[in-house]
């Protein structure tokens, strides 16, 4: 008997008010430890899908089960990197990163250390005492990533976390993410516009079509973990990349 | 308990009964007799430890007496009657003034000479005052009312302004500023209440001797005060209310004397402290006539003449 899927979407649909459906008939079963990338055109409902899994908004059709519970009940295991950095303007960087740990009443000592380690990881070790308005756009997003990683949730929802970062930082954080995952496995839902990033990180890539958002194709990525940076140059990788790009292009018209 | 029931004064060898007198305004010569009795020790002689609690715009003497926060309080006889009709069981026992010092003041330039001339005018007065409708009835006039704000600048600025006042008080200030001011005493308006002290009905029943002692000592104080022995009392008043300067107090006392406010007219058989039953009866009838009462009020309810000393008792009717 296999373990039950950690996230199940059953014919899930979503519309806002009386508007047209944003998502329609989404069916997806995700195993514990999977890394699912979501790609699709702007406005196709990727963020909405993550918000559904997080229980921040209820589906208007179908059902979502997270770890055997409703999304709202499973929230303790989930954390979200929002599309915009969502920092509290009155807290310094370190205090912003510390926030979820504090709210969950983690020990002060342990959490200070963790905050420090995560800020180092995202390359903001010396920005700890700054206020959000003193940061660049990319720095804010990195603070938001550090905040999520410090929580070490079982399920991590990432909404274009690296969109505002340069390629180098991005590749570096990609590898860090896989490193953390190797030590301390989590299930990830990862929205990105970079097909290369999606293929490099994921176990499966979900390509969404727009108007309404539907699952166009699910592409399984066969490469074993750990994935070395050199993987990016292998012909197998490049071929899968090309295929995924083709699928993505197919959903647009 | 806030009930001002008599209790022994601390320390003193002869036990004095604690009594609180709630006045209706800040200390002023209109309370002179009480202060005189206090400073000269007349209350102490009578076995009372009196504390005079100064009033103000919102000191609510009837309520304080009714709730026991004060033993005696000062007010007009019509106030006592109204209070009874509203369920506040207070009874007047003596009068500090035979005539109310309240008056109407106006500028000489206004062309007013009698109450009749007030017809159609605007008067700054306390809204709801008993005298207003009775005056209108008596003189067949109609007036408009502006709420009294206790200020004088509007009077000064407008030669046609008519304002309710204490004859012992406001004319002094406006005269000083050069206004040619004339007055009409309200007691001539058709409605003439006493100014009285009163106590709670149940207190009177339980402590008649305290009421008797207080009344006698207060009348003694007032007699001497209007007779001109004002120095010590006024010194106390101005220590309590520094706004009271000698010139002003002299003016007030003189007005009280000139208009026979405290003594009344001996020719009519009036004397310090006296309250006549017939006058109260007439007053109640007048008030009932203008609908001041929510339920009928009887003389016996509002007035108890037993505590007046013999010299203040009205002469037997028919004399």
């Amino acid at each position: 008997m296999t373990a039950p899927p950690i996230v199940q979407l059953k014919a899930t649909g979503k519309r806002f008010g009386a508007g047209p459906p944003v998502l329609e008939a989404i069916n997806l079963e995700v195993e514990r430890g999977e890394f699912i990338s979501l790609i699709g055109p702007s406005g196709c409902g990727k963020s909405t899908l993550l918000r559904l899994i997080a229980g921040l908004t209820p589906p208007t059709a179908g059902e979502i089960i997270v770890d055997g519970m409703t999304p709202a009940n499973a929230r303790e295991e989930v954390f979200f990197v929002f599309q915009d950095s969502n920092l509290l303007p009155w807290r310094r960087v370190a205090a912003n990163v510390e926030l979820p740990l504090m709210l969950r009443r983690d020990l002060t000592l342990k959490r200070r250390e963790r905050v420090k380690a995560m800020l180092e990881l995202v390359g903001l070790g010396d920005a700890a005492e700054k206020y959000p308005w003193q940061l660049s756009g990319g720095m804010k997003m990195r603070v938001s990533i550090a905040r999520a990683l410090s929580v070490a949730p079982h399920i991590l929802l990432l909404d274009e976390p690296f969109g505002a970062l340069d390629e180098m930082t991005r590749d570096h954080l990609n590898e860090d993410l896989l490193g953390i995952r190797a030590r301390d496995p989590f299930t990830a839902f990862f929205v990105t516009h970079s097909v290369a990033e999606a293929v490099f990180l994921s176990t499966r890539v979900v390509v969404l079509s727009a108007n309404p958002g539907r699952v166009h194709r699910v592409i399984t990525v066969p490469f074993p973990y750990p994935r070395p940076p050199e993987l990016r140059e292998t012909p197998e990788f490049l071929q899968l990349l090309a295929e995924t790009s083709r699928e993505l292009r197919a959903v647009r018209h | 308990s806030r009930d001002a029931a008599p209790k022994p004064a601390p320390g003193g060898a002869p036990t004095l009964t604690k009594v609180i007198l709630q006045t209706d305004w800040y200390a002023e010569p209109e309370h002179g007799g009480f202060y005189l009795a206090l400073v000269k020790g007349y209350y102490r002689e009578a076995g009372l430890d009196v504390e005079i609690s100064q009033g103000g715009p919102n000191s609510m003497p009837p309520q304080k007496v009714a709730t026991g926060a004060a033993t005696f309080a000062l007010g007009r006889s019509d106030d006592v009657a109204i209070a009874n009709s509203r369920g506040i069981p207070i009874v007047m026992v003596g009068a500090l003034m035979q005539r109310d010092p309240q008056a109407i003041m106006f500028h000489r330039e206004s062309g007013i000479h009698t109450f009749k001339d007030l017809d159609g005018r605007n008067i700054m007065a306390v809204p709801g005052s008993t005298f207003l409708p009775i005056m209108e009835q008596t003189y067949h006039i109609k007036v408009a009312v502006t709420p009294l704000d206790f200020g004088l600048s509007r009077f000064m600025a407008d030669k046609n302004f008519v304002q309710q006042c204490f004859i012992t008080n406001e004319p002094f200030y406006v005269r000083k500023e050069g206004a040619k001011v004339e007055t009409l005493l309200l007691s001539d308006s058709g409605f003439s209440p006493y100014r009285v002290w009163y106590a709670k009905r149940s207190y009177i029943a339980e402590h008649p001797e305290v009421v008797r002692a207080f009344t006698a000592a207060s009348i003694r104080g007032w007699r001497e005060y209007v007779a001109g022995d004002t120095a010590e009392a006024n010194a106390r008043i101005s220590s309590l209310n520094p706004k009271m300067d000698a010139e002003f107090m002299a003016y007030s006392v003189k007005a009280m004397q000139d208009f026979k406010l405290v003594t009344g007219d001996p020719a009519l058989g009036e004397s310090v402290g006296q309250i006549r039953r017939e006058r109260i009866e007439h007053e109640l009838k007048q008030m009932a006539g203008i609908g001041q009462f929510e339920r009928p009020v009887t003389v016996d309810e509002v007035f108890d003449g037993r505590f007046l000393p013999p010299e203040a008792q009205p002469a037997a009717p028919g004399k």
Partner: protein
């Protein structure tokens, strides 16, 4: 059931409070000339209905006009102050002085210049209501998002365009809070105005006049009835302002938009 909660809850609380009112009165023997019972107040209101109804018209007039003046002038003044920091530095202290001078001191001046009655009552209501509008609107104006300010700079917006299209809409939530406070103050302001500058024929003036009348006649239940009327009047303002809040903000502001 759930649909009706917004109505039922305050009614239930009201019932509890009224029960407590009766209970306390009984427990501490609070007499009616200090604190009348609700039924006594209603009875008194009914008994005095003729006087109260004609009084409420006058007071409502003063309250509405004073309120509108306070909102209009307060808003305009805030806009004027927003034009430059120099203007604000020059004038704000004097606006504060206007607000902080007890109205009883200024009332005789109003009466002298505007005459007794409505104009002075409106002026006094205005004096009492306008500052919360100014304080809130000004705070709203200076709290505007810096990034949006930079957008307007890039658009070469004039100062008045910036105020009109950026600061005014951005300050709406603050402004409306100020208006809400002004609304609750307006009936009190008109009553105070009536105290200080009102006048009455045949013993019937505005609510303020009736308040002193009942006060001086020891008609405590009727006195509380005037308070009740002041509250009812105030609620009309509050409803009006709440509607305005909804009308102006429901499409975009976080206080009202429901993100599903």
């Amino acid at each position: 059931m759930k649909r009706h909660l917004p109505w039922l809850l305050p009614v239930a609380t009201g019932a509890l409070l009224i029960a407590a009112w009766y209970g306390l009165k009984r427990l501490f023997h609070v007499e009616s000339f200090v604190l009348p019972a609700p039924d006594e107040i209603l009875t008194a209101a009914w008994r005095e209905r003729r006087a109260l109804i004609s009084a409420v018209g006058l007071t409502a007039q003063g309250a509405v006009l004073g309120f509108l003046a306070a909102v209009g002038v307060g808003f305009g003044l805030s806009m004027f102050l927003a034009f430059s920091i120099r203007i604000k530095q020059s004038f704000y202290p004097y606006i504060l002085i206007l607000q902080m001078t007890p109205v009883i001191i200024l009332a005789p001046i109003f009466v002298l210049w505007l005459g007794q009655g409505l104009p002075s009552i409106v002026a006094i209501t205005f004096m009492i209501c306008f500052f919360p509008v100014v304080a809130n609107t000004t705070m709203g104006f200076i709290s505007v998002d810096r990034n949006l300010q930079e957008l307007f700079v890039m658009c070469n917006a004039t100062r008045s365009q910036e105020i009109r299209y950026l600061r005014v809409p951005g300050a709406m939530p603050y402004f409306l809070t100020g208006v809400k406070i002004a609304g609750t103050l307006a009936p009190i302001g008109a009553i105070t105005g009536d105290f200080l500058a009102g006048s009455a024929q045949n013993g019937v003036g505005g609510i303020g006049f009736m308040t002193i009348t009942y006060f001086s006649q020891l008609k405590t239940p009727a006195l509380f009835a005037t308070g009740m009327i002041a509250c009812l009047l105030g609620f009309l303002f509050v409803f009006g302002v709440n509607f305005l809040h909804w009308f102006l903000l429901h499409q975009w502001h976080d206080s009202l938009v429901r993100k599903e």
